[in-house]
């Protein structure tokens, strides 16, 4: 009974084949994304095998970095990276959240687009331009500030050392400036996804503006933490601007005034001078660890943001066993 329509079987197989081809073809390119990530990890590991095997974990515990003498201790770099990024986070987070709240909750309509554009502009300025400005404008200003600090404060370890201008403070400041637009725009997106009913519910109970916004922030807390973490990840990997103002001195110091260095920074300043295999391997190992750290931080933050989006979608009330009928 089911004599196939002449030619139909062939056409349908052709259809399937092309669809499969389409899937495989585009899938191949999507695979390249994954392959790239794997390749980067693999290549970095390969190139740093020498120092991994030679120094092991001590690489990260030793403070002395003396390529000439063949001494490679990377502790100063991980210290500098974490210290500068955490400082930048402390400075930038309140400002970034303040901006996000202002643009999404408090801003008059006509002001929104220009402000969004301006924050995007802040994010779009190339790192090297920030670095240039950093060297010639920020550092002298920081130097002046450091010199003017009263002597009694200078005794504290936080402010010890000669006021050279380049150092942790300048690095933290410039990092903060660069991270603000980043975490602020992600936080803004997160706030946008909070249902208006949450704020209205608070207002209806007699909340002030601040209290209603606080309710919305509470609702979005996971996503906001994710946004802040993304900013942290960005700070960890920032290279040029930081390198140009931090002083490029491998030193572990609590002082904001002390010239120090970061993982990205030492790669930028010393990579082309690596004249031995050991030297190169040490630098690549630093790159490898930087890769791993940013991978972890960024993945965690995206997980947080994603989980907030998911729970918001499933927050519609659970209907019990009663049948749901639409009352006319």
């Amino acid at each position: 009974m089911t004599a196939p329509v002449p030619g139909r079987k062939k056409a349908s197989r052709g259809l399937v084949a092309t669809d499969l081809g389409f899937r495989l073809g585009t899938g191949l390119f999507a695979t390249m994304l994954v392959a790239l990530v794997v390749a980067i990890g693999f290549e970095l590991s390969r190139q740093s095998m020498l120092t991994i095997e030679k120094f092991g974990l001590n690489f990260w515990r030793t403070e002395v970095w003396d390529p000439v003498a063949g001494q490679f201790g990377a502790l100063p770099f991980i210290w500098g990276t974490l210290y500068s990024s955490i400082l930048a986070l402390i400075i930038s987070t309140p400002i970034a959240l303040g901006i996000a709240v202002f643009i999404s909750e408090l801003c008059p309509d006509w002001l929104k687009q220009p402000l969004v554009f301006l924050t995007e502009l802040l994010a779009a300025i190339p790192s090297i331009v920030y670095g240039l400005w950093g060297i010639f404008v920020l550092v002298p200003a920081v130097r002046a500030f450091e010199s003017s600090l009263p002597a009694v404060l200078r005794q504290l370890p936080l402010f010890s050392g000669p006021p050279v201008g380049v150092g942790m403070l300048s690095a933290a400041l410039i990092l903060a400036v660069m991270v603000v637009p980043f975490s602020s725009s992600v936080a803004r997106e997160v706030l946008k996804s909070v249902p208006g009913a949450q704020r209205e519910g608070a207002y209806a109970l007699g909340a002030t503006r601040f209290e209603a916004i606080r309710a919305a922030l509470f609702y979005a807390r996971t996503g906001i933490v994710g946004a802040v973490m993304l900013g942290f990840g960005r700070a960890l990997g920032e290279t040029m601007a930081v390198t140009m103002v931090i002083g490029s001195t491998p030193k572990v110091s609590l002082s904001l005034f002390a010239p120090q260095d970061t993982m990205a920074g030492v790669l930028a300043s010393q990579f082309t001078e690596a004249d031995t295999e050991l030297y190169l391997s040490a630098l690549v190992e630093i790159g490898l660890v930087l890769f791993i750290i940013t991978l972890i931080v960024n993945s965690m933050s995206r997980l947080l943001i994603w989980s907030m989006a998911r729970s918001e979608r499933s927050s519609t009330p659970v209907v019990a066993a009663e049948p749901v009928e639409v009352t006319a």
Partner: protein, 277 residues
């Protein structure tokens, strides 16, 4: 707050005429005079005047988009959050125009509470949801006072028995009907005089709807209720007074029974008999 001399022994929802017998004699809780509402240049409400009386359930009915929700929101100045909103006319509560200068909007919203169409509990525990209004308004001084107030509100919303053992579970785990009753408890906690309800049962199934309606009948003993509903049978069941809106105008207001059986205006009659809407 007048707790009116209610007819004793009346446990079921009363017939419209009986319940309203006392309604016209109750004091006026909210007096609205010539209220118009503008959204930018567009006029959404035209010269509405109505008296909402204490301890009475007043229902606003009318086809979609006729302005009943907008009007409800003018009663607790929720429309203030809309940037282009403008109000003309007066809304008198307790002898003062709530749109006058020097009016504390925060305090107004505490005294005139609101329950929304789609329940909107905060992503906190059941206890913290009810406690929220109490905390921000600083209404209780001690932990035990707080617990007592939360229990009272949950009882008032007929939810206590169902949640008393899991007060610190997330509110999001409740069913739709329970969440709505939680929102009512949350509104009751701040001890309002008036409770505004914007289609409180429209997102619920019939059984949950019935519980909300029973609750409304109980609540009017202590509160003044204004309820917006697109469900005429619901209005007939729960309200004492009904107001019919159409295209931003108040067409007719009167005892529920009268509105549904022998309305004055032809437009009202057409609507309640289902000729349009």
């Amino acid at each position: 707050m007048t707790s009116g001399a209610d007819t004793p022994g009346l446990s079921a929802a009363p017939s419209g005429r009986d319940a309203h017998r006392g309604a016209a004699e109750r004091p006026i809780k909210i007096g609205v005079t010539n209220l118009s509402f503008f959204y930018g240049d567009k006029r959404a409400l035209h010269d509405i005047s109505i008296d909402l009386r204490a301890n009475v359930v007043t229902a606003f009915i009318g086809p979609s988009g006729c302005g009943k929700s907008t009007f409800l929101r003018t009663l607790n100045r929720m429309n203030d959050v809309i940037p282009k909103a403008r109000v003309e006319g007066t809304v008198n509560i307790g002898g003062r125009d709530i749109y006058g200068a020097d009016v504390d909007v925060v305090e107004l919203r505490r005294r005139v509470g609101m329950v929304f169409q789609k329940s909107n509990p905060f992503p906190k525990s059941i206890f913290d949801n009810v406690a929220y209004g109490l905390r921000i308004n600083g209404m209780v001084k001690s932990r035990s006072q707080l617990a007592g107030a939360v229990e009272k509100s949950l009882r008032g919303a007929a939810l206590w028995d169902e949640v008393k053992d899991r007060l610190h579970d997330s509110a999001m785990a409740l069913s739709g009907g329970q969440q709505q009753r939680l929102c009512i408890a949350r509104a009751l906690a701040v001890e309002p005089d008036v409770v505004l309800m914007d289609e409180p049962a429209s997102a619920l199934d019939p059984i949950a709807t019935q519980r909300i309606e029973e609750l409304i009948y109980q609540l009017k003993r202590d509160y003044t209720i204004v309820i917006v509903t697109h469900n005429m049978q619901q209005a007939a069941r729960v309200s004492d007074t009904t107001a019919f809106f159409w295209l931003g105008k108040l067409i007719e207001v009167g005892p529920t029974a009268t509105i549904f059986t022998s309305p004055r205006e032809k437009l009202t009659e057409d609507y309640v008999t289902g000729r349009f809407g």
